[in-house]
């Protein structure tokens, strides 16, 4: 039964391959959507089955292509076992993520059939989406760190293609480039972590008894690592100690920071929201790229639990990101930027939860964020397409003309703001509860800082989405010059359908976070061997409810001009310009390049002149000399073939019979 996970992973890949068969782009898109739909259905079956066996052991299934198992010392260094494989791991976390990823991908693809209707790159977009879905599903179900890294890289490459869909625009190409380069920094971190693990842990893990389902013991398997980290802490691994743990954890954290757009490596996300097609943004910012970073940390959680202080660092990063994200979003008026900073802020909350030890709350926040962020992105994209502008001050009156889209926008905004009973409410309160309760893991000062940051995030985070909604949806249609009111109408069912489904999920999806219910999320996905306590949840619920209502009230009053937004002068301007972090990076990189570029150019020129030109010239001269021999006649070719065979066979035979001692032989 668990082998259905193979079907879930491979169906989108099948969709990608089969989408090349039809001639019409419409059919190709239908192929992709169908395959993703099947993958979603199968993943639901799997989820249901797993829900029935909540506390069973995880299930591993591997397809090994090649095994290399010396497991011994060769000339002083230890060569560990290694096997090139692809596999599926079915446990609670992966089965939930499989369902969520496939559902969001399905809805996004259906939306894209309408959104990109007359686009030139229609087929390319859908095949890339299918491939991205496959990569993320395989990443979620991967059985060891190496596989995860492979799909991590594939994901980055595919999203470069997807984000740069309209690459003829220089801004879009620049945004795709920026995304790729910054996440590359994270990829290097992950690669460094892989190398470190291999070097330090190979000898130890090779001596462990085999884990179930693993053909050999390499240091990358999740369950092997689970045993290795505490042993490393206890000093049982030769040549490593707590500092190794810190180094590996820092490298993994670097990868997660870059991929999940945490401060300070967050600058690529705004470009994505501004330049990528809406379906891509929705997929990327909710369940794929940014979720991959959080997923990596979740899978490597035993490492972070063992390494001293790493959780504190992660919590601090997350808290800083969350609060800065919320404050900057407050100061924006462009819808794309508001949404991008909102994403940054919510992902920061995920990492806060991971840092304080509230693993289930973190994953819950990740999933709830998927619902409301996806509906926000898709609804906002419909609005932007209708009003032809992304400035929220220039859009108004959507409620009367685009009811369904506005409802979706409302659900998303309210969910993001943490309004009572919606998904965001439950998830953010779980995070807050985690901080209040488990924050005892952190020291005194970090704990207080994180708590303050989370509350500030909640307050600010309740204002800006609702303010955006009020401004955009209520009021009358704008009357500026050149505006065509008849363009503002509800798009077709293919675009409103996914919005409606996601809006419903935003409303009801939070109820799986109810405390003390048997099938609750917290009983299903947890770190370690038992679900965590949820003592702080009630306090979190209270705080979140108060903050949400307060923010809603403030937003309404701002909208009806009962409150005036205070002029904060230069501080406000700084936040409106996103603290100019991106510009700082650009300036630094340019300075570095200006210094080194002429030198590199000189070296290149000299090498070309001194080394490559003579070598190439020599090759060309030799080829010209050899051309004279090639008269190309059939009989000449035959003669050389027969003569060649005779010579070579003769050499082989003489060598085999020992007459040519330098050729080796049996005698």
């Amino acid at each position: 039964m668990y082998n259905l996970a193979w079907a879930v992973i491979l169906l989108p890949l099948g969709g990608f391959l089969f989408a090349f068969l039809p001639e019409s782009p419409k059919r190709a898109a239908q192929v992709c959507v169908t395959f993703t739909g099947f993958a979603f259905v199968v993943s639901l079956v799997l989820l249901g089955y797993r829900l029935g066996h909540i506390h069973a052991n995880p299930y591993l299934s591997n397809l090994t292509f090649w095994t290399f198992d010396p497991g011994q010392r060769v000339q002083g260094t230890f060569i560990s076992d290694y096997h090139l494989q692809i596999g599926v791991l079915v446990d609670s976390l992966s089965v939930v993520m499989l369902s969520v990823v496939s559902l969001v991908s399905l809805l996004v693809q259906v939306y894209a059939t309408g959104f990109l209707r007359r686009d030139d790159g229609y087929t390319r977009h859908f095949t890339a989406l299918a491939l991205a879905t496959f990569a993320m599903l395989a990443l979620v179900a991967s059985t060891n760190l190496f596989d995860l890294w492979i799909f991590w890289e594939v994901l980055g490459a595919i999203f470069y293609v997807l984000v740069g869909h309209w690459w003829q625009r220089p801004e879009a190409a620049a945004a795709a480039r920026r995304m790729f380069l910054i996440t590359r920094i994270g990829d290097l971190g992950l690669l460094g972590a892989l190398v470190f693990i291999w070097a330090k842990l190979s000898a130890y893990t090779a001596a462990l008894p085999f884990a179930a389902g693993q053909p050999v013991n390499d240091p990358y398997g999740w369950f092997t690592e689970q045993k290795a980290w505490p042993a490393l802490l206890a000093g049982k691994v030769h040549g490593s100690g707590p500092r190794t743990l810190i180094a590996v954890a820092l490298l993994v954290l670097l990868a997660a920071v870059a991929k999940s757009a945490l401060l300070p490596l967050h600058t690529w996300l705004r470009g994505v929201f501004e330049e990528a097609p809406a379906p891509v943004t929705a997929l990327l910012s909710t369940v794929t790229l940014t979720a991959a970073g959080a997923f990596l940390v979740a899978r490597m959680y035993p490492l972070f639990q063992a390494a001293p202080h790493m959780l504190t660092v992660m919590a601090l990063f997350g808290a800083a990101t969350a609060v800065v994200g919320a404050l900057v979003a407050l100061a924006q008026r462009d819808i794309a930027r508001i949404l991008s900073w909102s994403t940054v802020s919510h992902l920061g909350l995920v990492f806060v939860a991971l840092g304080v030890g509230a693993y289930s709350a973190a994953m819950f926040q990740l999933i709830a964020h998927a619902w409301f962020k996806a509906v926000l992105v898709l609804a906002a994209a419909s609005l932007v397409a209708a009003y032809r502008t992304t400035d929220s001050h220039e859009i108004s009156g959507a409620w009367s003309r685009m009811r369904t889209t506005s409802l979706g926008l409302l659900a998303g905004a309210a969910g993001s703001a943490g309004v009572v009973l919606l998904a965001g409410f439950w998830s953010v309160s779980a995070v807050t509860g985690g901080v209040i309760d488990n924050g005892g893991r952190l020291g005194g000062v970090p704990r207080a800082l994180v708590l303050i940051a989370v509350i500030a995030t909640m307050l600010a985070g309740a204002v800006y989405p609702m303010r955006m909604f009020f401004r955009v949806a209520l009021g009358e249609l704008p009357k500026r010059r050149g505006f065509q009111p008849q363009r503002v109408r509800e798009p077709g069912g293919r675009m409103t359908g996914p919005i409606a489904i996601l809006a419903v999920l935003t409303v009801v999806g939070g109820f799986m976070g109810l405390p003390r219910v048997r099938a609750s999320f917290f009983n299903f996905v947890y770190a370690g061997t038992a679900p965590q306590s949820q003592d702080g949840l009630l306090a979190g619920l209270a705080v979140t409810a108060v903050a949400g209502l307060l923010g809603l009230a403030v937003a309404w009053m701002l909208h009806t001009r009962q409150l005036r937004a205070p002029h904060l002068g230069r501080v406000g301007a700084a936040f409106a310009h996103e603290l100019r972090i991106d510009e700082a990076y650009t300036w630094a990189v340019e300075r570095a390049l200006v210094r080194t570029a002429p030198l590199v150019g000189r070296v290149d020129h000299e090498a070309e002149h001194r080394v490559f030109d003579p070598v190439g010239g020599g090759v060309v001269a030799a080829a010209e000399a050899g051309r004279g021999w090639q008269i190309g006649r059939v009989d000449a070719v035959t003669l050389s073939a027969v003569a060649g065979v005779a010579v070579v066979a003769g050499a082989v035979v003489l060598g085999a019979t020992g007459h040519l001692p330098w050729l080796g032989g049996t005698r």
Partner: protein, 105 residues
């Protein structure tokens, strides 16, 4: 006087060499095809000899079966080769090896 396997193998080698000479030295491509058939005949002869004199793998006369299939393959080769040469003649109006030098470097 009695002969053994060595004689047959020697004959086969001689015929093979003669055929090899023809393949390389003949000017007309149909002549090349015929010389190739000489080489094939030599091989078939050797196979039949080995089968008769007991050099075998699992089956007695296994070499004979091999020889039979080799003959059949040779026939197919001649058929396709001849038709290809005819096609070449229609296109190029020549079958002399001197005139076919498209591979000139």
């Amino acid at each position: 006087m009695n002969v053994g396997v060595n004689h047959f193998v020697a004959l086969s080698g001689v015929l093979f060499a003669i055929g090899g000479f023809g393949v390389v030295a003949r000017r007309n491509l149909i002549g090349v095809l015929m010389s190739a058939q000489v080489m094939l005949s030599a091989g078939v002869l050797a196979l039949g000899a080995f089968a008769r004199f007991g050099y075998r793998g699992t089956h007695p006369l296994g070499g004979g079966a091999f020889a039979l299939f080799a003959v059949v393959s040779g026939l197919a080769e001649v058929a396709v080769g001849a038709s290809l040469l005819l096609l070449l003649h229609r296109r190029r109006d020549t079958l002399q090896a001197d005139d076919l030098d498209d591979l000139r470097g």
